[in-house]
């Protein structure tokens, strides 16, 4: 195995992804990621020099909307699925220390 994923890396990625892994899950995640990255490294066998990265397959561009109000007040529907709300707003733990 060429890739070595450290505890710090797993913790760091956990912060980015907002996932909290148990000690056991972390060990497994390290191994999984190492295996996958080794496998992904096979892409390095390919010479991609000068190849433009392709994010869209088709050359479709300039898809626009006109600046016209089409939506009305949907407040109740929008809030209907909220795990926690206070009156007309979503409630979350406080953001400012």
């Amino acid at each position: 195995m060429k890739h070595k994923i450290s505890d710090e890396t797993i913790d760091y990625v956990g912060i980015l992804a907002k996932l909290e892994l148990s000690a056991e899950e972390k060990e497994k995640a390290k191994i999984d990621m190492e295996k996958m990255l080794d496998y992904i490294d096979t892409l390095n066998e390919l010479d991609t020099e000068g190849i433009e990265p392709m994010s869209h397959v088709f050359p479709v561009n300039n898809v626009f909307r006109e600046d016209i109000v089409t939506n009305g007040d949907k407040k109740e529907e929008i809030l209907a699925n909220a795990p926690l709300r206070k009156e007309d707003r979503f409630e979350v733990p406080k953001t400012i220390a």
């Binding site: 892994l21 996958m36 496998y39 699925n81």
Partner: protein
């Protein structure tokens, strides 16, 4: 004849001719589902009450001459990653517990316009990540042809429901093979359209640049008719394409004379089950007998499609799934201290192992210092893969190969080694990377009696060529749709 044994189009015709009622059909599939669900588990939600209500309404519209389409009144099941207003939509994940969308996906609206009666939401791999439908929070779906085996995935519920006659047809979604592979495993016809053909508005995203919704059907004619109903140019989806043709059923002709079919040698090599190799060669012979020109060729780059796919799909998924955070909808952990702890606990408890694995990988490959080496490299590989297909389609009208290297594996054998599971996507993921249409058509069974699927791949926007080829094959071999024996009888 049992009403359940009709195809969607046959049933539609009977309803139109008043030889059957919508209510008869709806009651029949619901009865059937109730009888077999304990064994198969195709559905996350079976909406009996809603279906009966829709049946009445649709019948009225048919009687008044408002609904005249070929699918009017036919009961359908929809994969649980498609939003339907007011109806539980979970992506088979705990994190979407109790989530009821406030709007309906465009593809489902198109179905409703065609007079479909939606009877429920089908089980899937959580967020469409998996190849077996075992990663579902709602338990695995089982293969109707042998319940000790998986139905494939991620649209396993949609394919099993059609195979087990729990609906007449269904919608699935395909990001790396999620319609074609389970269709092959379940012995049904599945089609992934060209990227942009069916609106993604209302499809809960996995890999946005790869996802497409498509039909799962009992035969090729149904498949063409369903595609015709759901395909549309949608201004709500910026990647939706305005096509020249939407008349897919016009391609249902029994004729492949002069059609050039290429079989990639790389698709018949090591790792492929011998039974499948034989079935694919046999299918090629059938088409050759009907006048097609078949030859083998080197597609190249096949081994790079999976790593490129997992980088791109995981990266997009890591971002697409950020919105599941316990704030606006779905699950929130009951105990937390502060905002970030709430996020982390909600997501760690709400997502299953496979989803977390891909989010971690996707977040890593996009993180500072790795973007070029992984993400851009994968996008460059994608460009090369597209070029390889472009070269192939200069010579061939259709590419023919297997849909999967094996038939349906036994339950519980796949998730222990994710790498091995990923390798099962070898024949399907490249099609998504290149945005091409792909179709899986039943092509016999293996020695264990499990269905084999052949895959037809077309150039962009050439669904009709695929439909024509598949239809000709179906005519030549007599319909392959076989009702699995035994299920439901013990209940």
């Amino acid at each position: 004849m049992d009403i359940l044994s009709f195809t969607a189009l046959e049933l539609g015709k009977m309803i139109k001719e008043k030889r059957a009622s919508v209510l008869d059909a709806v009651k029949a599939v619901i009865e059937r589902a109730k009888a077999v669900e304990q064994e198969i588990n195709s559905y996350v939600t079976l909406d009996e009450e809603g279906a009966l209500k829709q049946a009445e309404e649709v019948q009225r519209l048919i009687d008044s001459g408002t609904l005249t389409g070929p699918l009017a009144g036919v009961p359908v099941a929809v994969k649980d990653n498609l939003c339907i207003e007011g109806q539980l939509t979970t992506c088979s994940s705990k994190i979407l517990s109790g989530f009821k969308p406030i709007y309906t996906a465009e593809a489902v609206l198109n179905l409703k316009k065609a007079g479909a009666v939606i009877i429920g939401k089908t089980n899937m791999d959580e967020f469409a990540m998996g190849s077996t439908t075992e990663t579902s929070y709602y338990g695995p779906t089982k293969n109707p042809h042998n319940t000790a085996h998986v139905p494939g995935g991620s649209s396993g519920g949609s394919c099993a429901a059609v195979a087990a006659q729990e609906c007449y047809y269904s919608l699935g979604s395909d990001t790396g093979g999620s319609i074609r592979q389970p269709s092959a495993f379940c012995g049904v016809v599945g089609l992934k359209p060209t990227y942009g053909t069916v609106s993604r508005y209302g499809l809960i995203a996995y890999g946005s640049s790869l996802d497409q919704i498509g039909p799962v059907a009992k035969d090729v004619s149904d498949c063409a008719a369903i595609l015709e109903a759901i395909a549309s140019h949608d201004t709500k989806d910026s990647t939706s394409v305005k096509r020249k043709d939407y008349d897919f059923t016009s391609a249902l002709t029994d004729n492949v004379k002069g059609l050039k079919i290429g079989i990639p040698r790389d698709y018949l090599g090591e790792g492929l089950d011998e039974d499948i190799r034989r079935a694919i060669r046999k299918a090629a012979e059938v088409l050759e007998e009907r006048g097609a020109v078949v030859e083998e060729f080197d597609l190249s780059l096949v081994q790079y499609a999976i790593p490129a796919y997992y980088v791109i799909a995981s990266a997009e998924a890591s971002s697409n799934l950020e919105r599941f955070d316990g704030v606006k909808y779905g699950y929130r952990t009951p105990d937390y201290e502060g905002l970030h702890n709430m996020y982390k606990k909600t997501r760690s408890e709400g997502f299953g192992a496979e989803v977390k694995r891909r989010i971690m990988l996707g977040s890593f490959v996009l993180s500072s210092g790795y973007y070029d080496a992984y993400y851009l490299k994968a996008l460059r590989t994608k460009a090369l893969i597209k070029q390889a297909f472009d070269r192939a389609f200069e010579k061939y009208d259709v590419i023919l190969g297997p849909a999967a290297p094996s038939t349906a594996p036994e339950l519980g054998k796949s998730l222990t080694d994710p790498m091995k599971m990923y390798l099962g996507d070898i024949y399907t993921v490249a099609v998504n990377l290149a945005g091409l249409p792909g179709m899986s058509v039943p092509a016999g069974k293996d020695s264990k009696g499990l269905p084999i699927g052949m895959q037809l791949i077309g150039n962009s926007f050439q669904e009709k060529t695929l439909i024509r080829t598949a239809y000709t094959y179906e005519c030549a071999t007599n319909k392959q749709y076989v009702v699995p024996a035994n299920i439901g009888e013990g209940v």
